[in-house]
């Protein structure tokens, strides 16, 4: 790990100001992903701003009947919140399908959104990666791609976004609240929060360099049956090969979002209109323009079958 100086921020705007003041600075909250990357010298901040004391650890009901989840609410606490379990069960399920008990106790809501890809070439500093060093090249091209993305990719990056939580947040049309050093706030729809790689795989989110996430808000409950189905290489503590987040209604209407397929939580609203026509009709729309390799083409069939299983479960 490279040496760094360290401070504790007292308010979100002060944290943003501290970020703006030091070009090499990074925020740390749970630290479960950042510390790992710092040990590998994939992340090399020269200054850490600890935001754990910002009092952003509450889940509150909003005036319009939704929820406002503080940026520092731990994954365990969000998954166990009585309102989330009852009205946003797909979010509880997604959170509980990710990581381990120890990690969920530490990892935060905002940190989960900001976690980096687990692409093996991003992690291997002896190989080129356009995310680590813009323009360096992508060793995943022609490499081991079984776990990598099949939609939303570019010729510069095949990485997936690894989060389960974010897939459920996308399904629920969450919004990300932020603050800047001057106190200015904004709300970023989750659909716009994560960026596709295009020619700039190193740009992963819509956040400005001095912008701090303060909360994630959820609209009013959607009702319906909530399902999060994750398919992985072992039964627990593994990233998704594919995952399906769904809210299904008794009349056959539904909405869907997908994990393990793309550089961001993947949702194609037009796919929802095919819900009554079965899994293949939905995935034909959702996977339009897919770019596969011989190693990851199986994901197209796997996600269709996983969705089929979800639709069957919803009818039961």
């Amino acid at each position: 790990m490279k040496a760094f100086t360290y401070e504790r921020a007292d308010t979100p705007a002060a944290a943003a100001a501290a970020l703006a003041a030091r070009p090499g600075a990074k925020l740390v909250a749970g630290g479960t992903n950042l510390l790992d990357l710092m040990k590998l010298q994939i992340e090399t901040p020269t200054h850490l701003i600890d935001i754990n004391r910002l009092q952003l650890d509450r889940v509150e009901t909003t005036p319009d009947g939704g929820l406002r989840v503080g940026a520092l609410v731990r994954n365990t606490d969000l998954a166990s919140d009585a309102r989330v379990r009852k009205d946003y069960a797909v979010l509880s399920r997604a959170l509980l399908s990710g990581a381990s008990g120890q990690l969920r106790n530490k990892a935060t809501t905002a940190g989960n959104l900001l976690q980096r890809t687990r692409c093996p070439y991003f992690y291997d500093t002896t190989k080129p990666c356009n995310k680590r060093t813009a323009g360096a090249g992508c060793a995943a091209m022609g490499g081991f791609t079984r776990n990598l993305a099949v939609v939303g990719v570019s010729d510069q990056c095949l990485a997936t976004h690894p989060s389960d939580m974010a897939v459920a947040m996308r399904l629920l049309d969450a919004q990300v609240e932020t603050v800047r050093p001057d106190g200015a706030t904004r709300r970023i729809p989750i659909a716009d929060f994560h960026k596709l790689p295009g020619n700039t795989p190193q740009v992963e989110t819509a956040l400005a360099g001095d912008e701090v996430i303060t909360a994630v808000t959820l609209p009013r409950p959607l009702g319906g049956r909530h399902i999060y189905r994750k398919v992985r290489d072992r039964a627990s503590y593994a990233f998704a090969l594919v995952s399906v987040a769904a809210v299904m209604h008794p009349d056959g209407r539904g909405r869907f979002a997908f994990g393990g397929l793309a550089p961001k939580p993947w949702r194609v609203e037009a796919g929802d209109e095919q819900a009554k026509n079965g899994a293949k009709a939905v995935t034909d729309v959702v996977l339009r323009g897919a770019t596969t390799t011989s190693q990851n083409a199986f994901k197209l069939a796997l996600v269709e079958r996983t969705l089929d299983s979800v639709l069957t479960e919803a009818k039961a």
Partner: protein
């Protein structure tokens, strides 16, 4: 590649430029309560909680397995919750209360979870055991507090320490000797005794 003879008489001595000066790295004082006792320690800001416990406080029960949060050997309880002590910095724990395996029990006065691990042969080499025991104590507390898991059929029902629940909740602790079946028996026995 030829072998390097480090004892070669003609080897050039290392120059000061070859030696990294760690004294120049930023340090900070951190105050915590560890196993019920207040401690104050000056650490390089990079020092993980695990290295602080092992190297600064001589509490070598918590183990370093992977150092990346994948194996669980470093699991300790911070303010009562189990976490991977390898993936957090000591400086992030000012004012926190940390419990390690040494704080749970001693050879003379074992914690019930330690007694159960011994009784059920819940280990072979023992390297993962301190993390397993801390994680198991945290797991049963999480079930008692009603925190659901991926294995819970009903998110809103009362949580129970069934074998499926324990297996899922303990998946962050790896045992290379494969003592899982006996670890499960040990945790279930403690769970039954508590209920």
């Amino acid at each position: 590649m030829p072998m390097v003879d480090v004892n070669a008489a003609d080897a050039a001595p290392l120059s000061p430029a070859d030696v990294r000066d760690l004294s120049a790295a930023p340090t900070m004082d951190v105050g915590m309560t560890v196993n019920g006792r207040p401690v104050s320690v000056k650490v390089d800001t990079r020092t993980t909680l695990l290295d602080t416990l092992r190297e600064h406080l001589q509490l070598t029960g918590s183990k370093k397995g992977c150092d990346h949060g994948q194996c669980g050997a470093c699991t300790v309880l911070v303010n009562g919750r189990r976490i991977n002590s390898c993936l957090t910095l000591a400086v992030m724990h000012e004012g926190d209360s940390v419990t390690t395996i040494e704080g749970l029990g001693s050879p003379e006065q074992m914690h019930p979870m330690q007694v159960a691990f011994v009784k059920h042969d819940g280990f072979q080499c023992g390297y993962c055991t301190p993390g397993q025991v801390c994680s198991a104590v945290g797991t049963l507390d999480e079930i008692k507090r009603g925190i659901p898991s991926h294995a819970s059929a009903d998110l809103t029902a009362t949580q129970r320490a069934t074998p499926d629940e324990i297996r899922e909740r303990m998946s962050g602790n790896i045992c290379r000797c494969g003592a899982y079946a006996n670890i499960l028996d040990a945790i279930q026995e403690v769970s039954r005794a508590q209920s």
